[in-house]
Symmetry: C2
């Protein structure tokens, strides 16, 4: 089963309930987030996952490279991913520093910090996965906005150390995305595939308006087929930031997600 539940999809579901609920639903993969894992404890989380037959498909997230403490914080994130057995650490590269207009500089900084982190990730058996975020987040969350740009940033490093993520929500609009997916596959950089749908109107702050699979306008199955065509056989994580979904009981949200996944992805 390639389906993986990204924890943020059922954001308020406590980790033990999530583990039990996933196991009950036959789900075998979960993408975890650092903050709830830290609250529960990394070692305890590792044990909890193992006890429920769950694989940690990714840890979200490192990045935010403009932060002065970025290097230390990302090293800790790599260590946590290694302890959890997560093969992939998701990287959201961060926006512009306060008051800055130097987008090129912020993008260069991503390259510089990656150069520091990549060998450390390699030593820990963790792959860094650069996530291009939708351009509407370019100033405040992530200066890496396209798949092509993420691939260019990853290129100097061994593909075992640095890959890219493909999230349908962030990339669906890009006329170059199909070429980009093929390129990511050809150069062995496709580290993780995530899915969410695009719906409008966008909410204030544009953070929590991702759509349940099938509710929006993204050709989700076309993405899955394009990713598969590169030879990617890894997990398909469903990651949906959505207030309505978060208001649902975890088990119900998971059931809806699984049903939509079967209908629109497989």
């Amino acid at each position: 089963m390639r389906f993986s539940l990204n924890q943020w999809t059922t954001r308020h579901w406590p980790l033990p309930d999530l583990a039990e609920g996933c196991a009950a639903a036959g789900v075998t993969g979960v993408g975890l987030w650092r903050e709830p894992v830290a609250d529960y404890g990394v070692a305890r989380t590792t044990e909890l996952m193992r006890d429920h037959g769950l694989t940690v498909t990714s840890l979200c997230r490192g990045g935010f490279f403009q932060d002065p403490a970025a290097l230390d914080d990302n090293r800790r994130a790599i260590e946590e991913a290694a302890e959890l057995g997560a093969p992939v650490l998701c990287l959201v590269s961060g926006g512009l520093p306060d008051g800055s207009r130097d987008l090129d500089g912020a993008r260069s900084r991503v390259a510089d910090v990656l150069a520091e982190l990549a060998p450390y990730a390699g030593e820990h058996g963790v792959r860094l996965a650069l996530e291009p975020l939708h351009p509407m987040y370019a100033s405040d969350r992530c200066v890496v906005s396209t798949l092509g740009q993420a691939l260019d940033l990853a290129a100097p490093f061994p593909s075992s150390q640095v890959g890219v993520m493909i999230d349908t929500y962030h990339l669906w609009w890009d006329p170059d995305v199909w070429d980009g997916i093929a390129r990511a596959g050809a150069v062995g950089r496709l580290a993780l595939f995530q899915v969410a749908d695009w719906v409008t109107p966008l909410p204030e702050g544009v953070l929590t308006g991702r759509g349940m699979l099938g509710d929006g306008c993204i050709e989700l199955r076309r993405f899955r087929e394009a990713v598969d065509a590169t030879g990617y056989t890894g997990p398909i994580e469903v990651e949906i930031f959505n207030e309505e979904l978060w208001a649902m009981p975890g088990q119900e949200a998971l059931a809806l997600t699984l049903s939509r996944y079967k209908e629109h992805i497989t």
Copy 2:
């Protein structure tokens, strides 16, 4: 003076007041919108502009090519632009039809309708200007999301009939934008340059959150210099959709806009 006041920047300023206010401030160019022009009358507007020594630098807007009535409506827009003496008709290409996920199809439709309209625009001495809009509008306003894509769509037509617009708000995040501007200049397609700044958080619906020049993170002067470097000597239209600005008296909003223009653009 290359400064031009796009009418939407002072959205609630009645046309006669706007004409008088611009003349009093030494402004010689205005970008007009079809709806208020229709309310005032095209012929009366033409006369009003002439009486105040104002040049109409563009008419906003045609496009919305997915609409079944698009062809007729755009022909009327071309006729109106010609009557106003506006050299450029701004085109916002429209989003996906309701319930559609066929982004490629919607993009093809833009090409098809352009082919119908381009000769008609040529006969009227009006240049169609394809505006790439920020990717956050791709589903509901404009399936043309990058400058490169706009240039590809314009390519089959004589450059006197179809050009592209460069609006800093829509394009600032694009790592390829500097190459795109140079390319637009090299192929003679740069029809209009508009400026607004990027500020966050974005408001609900993301339509009215554009920033006053200098309030955001765009390298505005770098854009102006890159556009100038192509040989473009046309107007620089300030087009800002912003609730706070709209709440100001027109003359005050214009004075602020002019002052920021001098500080951040020239």
